[in-house]
């Protein structure tokens, strides 16, 4: 696929930005920060109405049959608005596991519901700082899951989860209905991500892949989610770049605009550089979907985007001075999101290692 956006893709970018500009409210998001387990329902209604849940699901399963590039562009718009519910990324991850997993009946059962927004899906791979633990603590024996996945995004309200588990020393990827698990909400610095510790106690689950196939599928799903997240991070980092620039063009100190001081303008120019390098990696990664080199491209995108969003949230606040740390201004919405996104689809340690594995064939 070309790395130049076509007209349809440009329209998706413009339209998703326009809709979110009109419907998102900073005050609503600030209010949600102080409530545990509460999703931003108006955003999710918008996502369903706009067909974002259906975007990257194949047409035969009730989706629109588009790909990572299109979903990435929507994610970029949601990132800029700190909109979002975890399902845009994690629902997509669950859908990809179903599409490429080995159970056609299960795919036919759930994909149309995920596409229409009738069901919410998530992905429970990580345990602690391991995005894809070599030997998962959650076990799968005789069709049943046992153990706890900590702070799974979206788990408070999700209907299904794709779970990375251990079956007799081999990895396995299974689908479980969360009605059969117990969920304990995790109060977080970014509460609309709906984190919950999910405890399985003999919860029935269906196999999507086992052994090496499970690992390959889980890595592909994780890489795809990382590319969506990287777009979201670029959207956030770019919004912070513009916010910092606009403030530097308004605020005066020592008789001139602060944007005229090199300590400020150079910092903002560096923010621009981080955004553009990350954006270029995102475009390349999305266009590499399904091709050799996709994991490497996804790692490039993820690393550059995490660095861009983290740095830009630090620096944008710094450029604002005192006003930047107030609750009301809301820059902390980005600070918080930068960190939750940095961890959710695999931290930098994971992606740096994966990149070097891919590049050299040498594991850490």
């Amino acid at each position: 696929m070309s790395i130049l956006y076509d007209e349809g893709q440009q329209a998706i970018a413009t339209e998703s930005r326009r809709v979110l500009d009109a419907r998102m409210s900073k005050d609503r998001l600030l209010g949600l920060l102080e409530q545990v387990g509460q999703a931003d329902q108006p955003f999710w209604d918008t996502a369903v109405e706009q067909g974002w849940t259906a975007l990257a699901i194949p047409e035969e399963h009730g989706g629109l049959g588009l790909g990572l590039t299109e979903l990435g562009l929507v994610a970029q718009a949601t990132g800029a608005a700190t909109a979002g519910a975890p399902f845009l990324t994690f629902g997509y991850g669950a859908a990809r596991a179903l599409i490429d997993g080995g159970d056609a009946a299960l795919a036919a059962q759930w994909l149309p519901k995920l596409a229409s927004g009738e069901a919410l899906g998530t992905v429970a791979f990580a345990e602690g700082n391991a995005a894809l633990p070599p030997a998962a603590g959650v076990t799968f024996v005789d069709g049943k899951l046992t153990g706890t996945k900590p702070a799974v995004p979206g788990a408070i309200t999700a209907d299904i989860a794709v779970v990375w588990a251990n079956t007799g020393g081999k990895p396995v990827l299974v689908l479980a209905e969360l009605a059969g698990a117990s969920r304990k909400a995790v109060p977080s610095y970014d509460n609309t991500r709906l984190y919950a510790d999910v405890t399985f106690a003999g919860t029935p689950a269906s196999v999507l892949a086992e052994g090496d196939a499970a690992r390959a599928l889980a890595l592909d799903v994780l890489a795809r989610m990382a590319v969506v997240t990287a777009h979201e991070q670029v959207g956030g980092a770019e919004a912070l770049l513009h916010t910092a620039r606009d403030y530097a063009l308004t605020r005066k100190a020592f008789g001139q605009l602060i944007g005229a001081f090199q300590s400020i303008k150079h910092r903002i120019a560096e923010m621009y550089g981080l955004v553009e390098v990350a954006r270029a990696n995102c475009i390349h990664a999305a266009a590499s979907e399904g091709q050799p080199g996709f994991l490497l491209a996804a790692a490039d995108a993820r690393i550059a985007a995490t660095e861009a969003y983290d740095t830009n949230s630090r620096d944008c606040v710094q450029i604002h001075g005192g006003i930047g740390v107030t609750w009301e201004l809301g820059l902390h919405l980005h600070m918080r999101r930068a960190r939750s996104l940095a961890v959710e689809t695999g931290n930098l340690y994971f992606w740096e290692d994966l990149l070097v594995d891919q590049l050299t064939g040498e594991a850490a």
């Binding site: 070309s2 790395i3 130049l4 770049l241 620039r245 530097a248 063009l249 001139q256 605009l257 944007g259 005229a260 090199q262 400020i264 303008k265 150079h266 903002i268 120019a269 560096e270 621009y272 550089g273 553009e276 390098v277 990350a278 270029a280 990696n281 475009i283 390349h284 490497l296 491209a297 790692a299 490039d300 995108a301 690393i303 550059a304 660095e307 340690y349 992606w351 740096e352 290692d353 990149l355 070097v356 590049l359 050299t360 040498e362 594991a363 850490a364």
Partner: protein
Amino acid sequence: MSDLEAYRLSARAFLEKMAPKYAREARAGNTVEQDLALGREYMAAKHDAGFAGINWPVDIGGQGLSHLHKITFDGEEMQFGMPVQFFGISLGMPVPIMMHYCEDRDFVKERVRKALRGEEIWCQLFSEPAGGSDLAGLRTRVEPDGNGWKMNGQKIWTSWAQYCDYGVIVTRSDPNVEKHKGLTYFWLDMKAKGVDVRPIKLAGGDSHVNEVFFDDVRLEDSQRLGAVGGGFGVALHTLMIERYIATDSGGFGPHLDEFVKLARHIEVGGRPALGDGRVRSAIARNHAMRAGLDSITKRAFLMMQAGMQPGPEGSLQKLVAVRSRQKLSELAMDLKGNEGLAFDEHAFVKTDWGTSWLNAPTGRIAGGSDEVLLNTIAEKILGLPQDHRPDKGVPFNQIPA
């Protein structure tokens, strides 16, 4: 296969044929003079094969192809390490400016041919001791002298001036007006009476840059390029031509593969370096950065191919790539430890970490320092205010010293 891909393959075939005689290995141990002689020979062969003046008009002696063809060829050529460093500036800026502004077309055609064949070399005399980044603050002055001009002053950092036949120069013709309004642009004969070239030895040990002194140098009015007082515009035009040069996400230093190759055979604390988190992190961060720059380049290329104007993000290349090359070179030297203390002054910057490190500061300063590039991004792309400029709107000769 696209036309450009076919072109790339034909370029590659030509370069592979030339490589045994002219590429990196063949040049090992050459003195500068030997390398220059080899370079002139290679340029003539390139001209004979139809790979010279790729994007220049046919009627002036070029091939009449697109900028993309030129970038394609340059990208391939860069991988071979051909002895072309002497001719990059000559053909990059001064000769194209002559093609555009010099009215004596027969003279220009002859110069173009000889410059393309490496028989003549041109330099660009812009920077001065009192200012490199502040181009319009230059002090080399010309005054009317009969029907021509007389020039006095000094330029500095002039690449390859000691081997040059001609140069282009910006001078101050009127100190009574604002600094950028009193400039006039000329070409000059570097062998003319009163021109004195003195090489400057750089930190890396080589002397490719020079000081150039002018003592009552006579310039004919026919050597003027552009209007009297219009020199700043011609100078900006000269710098704009640089847009179409090939980029290198390695910052013109070693490829990341070289670092990985080094790490593969080295241990840190008794364990393989490639298993060391610090080494892995450095590789990963550099890869992500370089892949981003490569993707920016590829997108710009595709946009030009589609007849669109590439985005301004191309201006990040040198800024981001060269400073990361500097750090990666330090890390590579750390990896080598005592074995990295040995230094070969003839080693190549693209294959030797010590050479890459020692010459990296030049890359961060020449052709726009990091700080000036950041200012340009801040002001031209992001619309931030200019720095405080006490010299603005003031006649040159009243600017506080």
